[in-house]
Amino acid sequence: MEGFLELLQNPQYNVLAAFGMTLVLTILSAIGALILGLIVAVLRVSPVGILRMFGGLYVTLIRNTPLTLIVVLCGFGLLNLMGVRLLPASAPLAWQNIAWAVVALSVYHATFVAEAIRSGINTVPVGQAEAARAIGLNFGQTLGQVVLPQAFRGAIAPLGNTLIALTKNTTVCAAIGIAEASFMMRNMIEFNPNYIFAIFAIVAIGFVILTLPPGLVFTHYSRKLTVQR
């Protein structure tokens, strides 16, 4: 046990910093996925056939691709091999790597966000949109003022699930060498295999701490904000 505490204090394995990276990846990707997912959901309900098709194609294609593939494609393929940089060239390579990881996570989880929002849209009775159009609102206003505010309330629970999945899926970024929690775990185990269960426990507890509060908050609001009909 003493040896394990010593291990935790070893500056080489900074548990807090690793979980900090997990948190950064989660927050940035959640924002990215929400924006992109909203756009895709709107495409999927748009009155223009070709846009609907594009939205459907995006969801089918990306959702059925393993996340590891997307992350590796972005990190190794686009950044290392092709040299495509998302940040200014002066930014350190580690940051360039993180930027691509955020893009990969956003692109992947946007499909789940889009489906959550679309299922939320499907819970809004068609009469709501008809009434909005009948008072002269255009497509954007009908969506923004009437349909989406109600759709989001119906989508809160599945969106919460997606956020929790995203938090845990950030571990895939270890594949391109980003120093998040599971990357740290692998290093710790490699050099201290005798503490393998204690290390597992620390990382598992860390993820529970990260995912439990959002889970509770989302459940609370999905109940509280239910639209009364």
Binding site: E130, A131, A132, L137, Q145, Q228, R229
Partner: protein, 258 residues
């Protein structure tokens, strides 16, 4: 050949507000609107009656293009109904619609239901829209419910709010698609009273309803539809007391005698 073609009394006049000309619509193999010709003058109150499935709701919904038509032409205030886009939205703002199932915005308060259109479409200031909404809500008798949400109101109250929401756009014509069919019987009259007031106030109205009492009291003309056609149109007294067509006689005999 349909009766609509022969009917000289309904030949469109230049100043008519709503003119439907040779309108056809199919739902798959079902020909729901067959060569509909109908002209509605300014301030006129038209009540559309007929058995279920006769196409009367569809007719009502085509007038603000919630249903598209396959052929023919619909003009409102002289302008052909645009097929989509900003022009259609602009026209819909001038055509008020009241639905069978109220369709109040469930996530907005009663007041916000009424102010949404004026603010977003007519670009009224929040204060002006609020003042207007409160005036209209008072007029339909639900002024004290402005802060509640639709689900907290009775059906009759919700429908009166829906009428206020449509009126807030200062529409040229109001469409009512079976406005009392979803209401408990004791709430029907509170809604019909508001509609009678509107009719007396000179509003142009197209009302699809089963309320024959309302038709007698408020209609300038009764349009009887069956199987997608306008079978008969006449002033209410003539229609109810001396229907001409066999279909209308049959329909009235089934609903009036009990």
């Amino acid at each position: 050949m349909t009766l609509g073609d022969q009917e000289t009394a309904t030949a469109p006049k230049a100043k008519d507000l709503v003119v439907l000309k040779d309108v056809n619509k199919h739902f798959g193999p079902l020909h729901v609107l067959q060569n509909i010709n109908l002209s509605i003058g300014r301030g006129e109150v038209i009540v559309v009656v007929g058995p279920s499935g006769s196409g009367k709701s569809t007719l009502c919904r085509t007038i603000n293009r919630l249903e598209t038509i396959d052929s023919g032409e619909i003009r409102i205030d002289g302008k052909v109904l645009p097929s989509e886009g900003a022009a259609l939205a602009k026209l819909r703002a001038d055509v008020g619609m009241v639905f069978q199932s109220f369709n109040l915005f469930a996530h907005k308060s009663v007041r916000d239901n009424v102010t949404l259109g004026p603010r977003k479409v007519r670009k009224l200031s929040a204060a002006a829209a609020k003042e207007k909404a409160e005036k209209l809500l008072d007029r339909v008798g639900v002024g004290n419910q402005a802060d509640k949400y639709p689900a907290q109101l009775s059906g009759g109250q919700q429908q009166r709010v829906a009428i206020a929401r449509a009126l807030a756009m200062d529409p040229k014509v109001m469409l009512f698609d079976e406005p009392t069919s979803a209401l408990d019987p004791e709430m029907v009259n509170e809604v019909l009273d508001v509609m009678v007031d509107l009719a007396r106030g000179g509003m142009t109205m197209v009302v699809v309803t089963h309320e024959m009492g309302f038709a007698r009291k408020a209609a300038d003309r009764v349009v009887f539809m069956a199987d997608g056609q306008i079978v008969e149109e006449n002033d209410p007294d003539s229609f109810f007391d001396a229907p001409q067509s066999a279909r209308a006689k049959d329909f009235l005999s089934k609903i009036l005698h009990h």
